[in-house]
């Protein structure tokens, strides 16, 4: 067991994958000589060379499409998109090709590509570097969408995604790269099919993922001090989502709060809430509440940025409301 950062966990997975499978290569903007915008691939160029740690021009659509093509001929590309907003330039490739080719060709081809991107707010990077498009990508049939929140998942889910025959999008919250966690020795394999109960509780289920997990765990701690036992679900995999774990938890607690950094309207939290209403309505003792991003382009100044995203006090307030103490 050792304490490592989330960034180191991603780097560890990259190194392991490159070492164990010669079909694996990493490409993206500044992944090589620069070491990665978030330094996840620092040192890998020297170890694996320019072919496999491939710096690309600024052409998100071009190199994401190239990853799809390389996957079609048997490679296992990892495409790093520097930040979530830039991935919009590659949407044509991700949706019209990666997510579509298998079904449209009658099952003749698979696209085993892994696309990693940093996501989320909190670094004062303003409105073109700070959004949360997890819900948007999770809308797309044909994609698998992962949101690792811990060092174990940051490493393990990347390796599991490489083993998966279908296109996988991994969201790494920018606020997590410096966070630390315990990595068991040997590092464990993880699945990319189930949600995880991050904290057990009996009064309310707090449903979250990625960058919001720690704030939600903090909220559960504060709730415990107030005599409310909150269960925290770390969804981990946003598509296909492990609904049975969600419903099983609500069956125990009868109350749910969804915490997501994305905008509330039409978004990820809306879908989770709708599914609970459709399939777990009779288990509920109170209406579902959502703590989500305020519907503005994320602003630069710290006080406004922080006011735009879910914070621990709001999660506590929402939980108290659903247990009838708000």
């Amino acid at each position: 067991m050792s304490e490592i950062t989330y960034r180191e966990a991603v780097g560890m997975a990259l190194r392991e994958a490159m070492t164990n499978d010669e079909r694996v290569f990493l490409m993206g903007e500044d992944v090589g000589r620069y070491g990665g915008a978030y330094a996840c691939s620092m040192g890998l160029l020297e170890e694996f060379g320019e072919d496999r740690i491939r710096d690309t021009p600024l052409s998100e659509s071009g190199f994401t499409g190239a990853g799809i093509g390389a996957a079609l001929v048997g490679m296992r590309p990892i495409v790093e998109i520097m930040t979530v907003n830039f991935s919009l330039l590659a949407l044509d490739q991700i949706i019209n090709n990666a997510a579509t080719l298998r079904h449209m060709s009658g099952g003749q081809v698979s696209v085993p590509i892994v696309i990693r991107m940093s996501t989320g707010a909190g670094k004062q990077l303003a409105a073109q570097h700070s959004h949360s498009w997890e819900g948007f990508y999770a809308h797309i049939p044909g994609l698998k969408v992962l949101s690792p929140a811990t060092v174990v998942d940051a490493r393990g889910m990347l390796l599991a995604a490489l083993d998966d025959p279908d296109p996988t999008v991994i969201f790494e919250h920018a606020g997590l790269y410096n966070s630390k966690g315990e990595m068991p020795d040997p590092a464990p394999s993880v699945d990319i099919s189930t949600a995880r109960i991050a904290r057990e509780g009996t009064d309310v289920t707090l449903i979250t993922h990625g960058g919001c997990l720690q704030r939600t765990m903090d909220a559960a701690e504060k709730l415990a001090a107030k005599g409310v036992s909150a269960e925290v679900l770390d969804l981990r995999v946003l598509r296909p989502l492990d609904w049975s774990t969600v419903f099983a938890s609500i069956e125990r607690t009868h109350r749910a709060v969804i915490v997501d950094e994305g905008w509330k309207s039409w978004g990820f939290s809306a879908e989770v809430s709708a599914r609970i209403a459709e399939d777990a309505f009779w288990m509920l003792d109170a209406p579902v509440r959502r703590v989500a991003g305020v519907e503005v382009p994320i602003p630069y100044p710290q006080h406004l940025e922080q006011a735009s995203i879910p914070k621990t006090p709001q999660i506590v307030a929402a939980a108290l409301q659903v247990v009838g103490r708000g």
């Binding site: 044509d92 009658g106 099952g107």
Partner: protein, 326 residues
Amino acid sequence: MTHPLPGRGHALHLLTQMLRIRRFEERSAELYSAGKIRGFLHLYIGEEAVATGALRALTDDDALLCTYREHGHALVRGVPMERVMAEMYGKQEGCSKGRGGSMHLFDDEQRLYGGNAIVAGHLPVAVGMGLGDKMMGRNRVTACFFGEGAMAEGEFHEAMNLAALWKLPVLFACENNGYAMGTALDRSESQTSLTVKAASYGMPAVAIDGMDVLAVEAETRRVVDAIRATSTPAFVEFRTYRFRAHSMFDAELYRDKDEVELWKKRDPIPAFLSRMVAARILEDGDFEHVDQKVMHELSEAVAFAEAGTWEPVEDLTKDVYTEVGT
């Protein structure tokens, strides 16, 4: 430029392939009017010499990506006509299981990867296939066909830049039929010399008379051989013309009938036939004989499509993801 005359067998082959396309397209138009084929239908009539000649430069190992005007390429590549026709019908015996229709013909066995209907969206994918092949040390060429309309898209630039920068074995094959749907070249491109534009990426770029099947074959072969020998990309422009409307919904308000008639005088099939007869390579009666065989193949293909079956609705969501265990 003059090209060596073909032997009789070779000439018969070229005539047969061009006629297979012509008759297939004519019948498709009828079947569309009869309601057997639905959706969009883009006919290749007038452009047959391009696919017929150019594909002879490829080996079975090479990959082929096309646009939504690709029936001809699929037929010449070796996808059985009956499977192409069944695909037009949407039957599960079609080459994409009926899922794609006219615009999305796939055949992994023949290394045909669409049938791509996002203009220029397949160019980055072709680059990636070339990249994967090169990284794995395979001596294969990826041939990517697109219309001149694609050259105004950003993905064209990104793909050309990546292929040239990384020295990838990709043939960029532009089928310049003068119109991006209804928009003439000089109304959509600031630089109307397509080879000048392509050459700016630092790759060889040549224009070829796309109405002359012998020129297409000989010059494409020269270019493809160079790609294979040097593992670097090249661009070719086939100057051609579609005699029919863009799709079945097109009233053709954007071009003069005189212009169409002028190009029809250069119809690649009679032009080739009369040249071969004059050179005594083909003789009177050859055309009728070939046509008879083609019409027989076509009626078998239509019968096959008619007898085809619909994919069960229960299979609707199959192959969105790879099935576990496959």
